[in-house]
């Protein structure tokens, strides 16, 4: 069971309290009506899923209930860092842009 640092609770908490919520830093476009079908498909369905550091959303659903972002290494399964929703994507070694 992983320990996950909740950036709002400022504490490492057991994975059981959290729920994964998909890729991070996807912004819902404000002009969706103007998007072509191909653009909308890219936004809705296409995800990166790289080997190595991924940026993903988690929710401390059974804790403070906040959504937040995390960088996690899919090889070691270790969290590199976690940060609050809305904060910029950190620059990390080994992470794809």
């Amino acid at each position: 069971m992983l320990l996950i640092r909740c950036p709002y609770c400022e504490e490492d908490r057991p994975e059981l309290e959290f729920r994964h919520a998909g890729e991070a830093h996807l912004v819902r476009p404000s002009n969706m009506d103007a998007m072509s079908d191909a653009e909308f498909e890219r936004f809705l369905f296409i995800r990166q899923n790289p080997k190595g550091v991924v940026f993903e959303r988690w929710r401390h659903v059974h804790g403070c209930a906040r959504f937040f972002n995390a960088a996690r290494d899919t090889i070691t399964d270790k969290f590199v860092t976690t940060y609050k929703a809305g904060e910029p994507k950190p620059t990390l070694e080994g992470a794809e842009e």
Partner: protein, 185 residues
Amino acid sequence: MAEPIGTLRRPALSDKRAARDTVSIKAADPCLRVALRAPRESVAAVSTALGVALPSRPKMSGSDGARSALWLGPDEWLVLDQAGNEMLPALAKVDAFHSAVDVSHRNVGIIVSGRGAADVINAGCPQDLSLTAFHVGACSRTLLGKIEIVLWRIAEDEFRIECWRSFADYADSLLRVAARDVSSS
């Protein structure tokens, strides 16, 4: 909300007292509860109206007499009034943006006390409940087995568990089987 005819009320958990020397599990008395949400800029006004300073740090609670505010998230508190004094009228007068919702009947309180209290809760709660990690007054939303709870340490050997009404039987029975283990060892 004013208490109407007392006999009408049927709490989810009747008071089944556990007679074990190391740990006692009992239903807390009914109390008033408000699920409170407020952004940082409203906290001062809301605190004044409540008469309790809303804690701003994670896992902290603040109390004034029978009224307590438990930090659940950066803009979320569970406020309990165990003397039955209404909170919503005063909060209704606060102009600053906030949300106050009566959840007095949504939750059930369970008091777990005795020197085995932390061990009993750790049968289903994955958090570190040592006094250094979960000091007296600390509170947190977390898990107890398969349900979500709010855990509040009211004394070194005394915790209050708040869970939703329909989960109270599960919480109570899990705590009791765990108490059986903790008391026997």
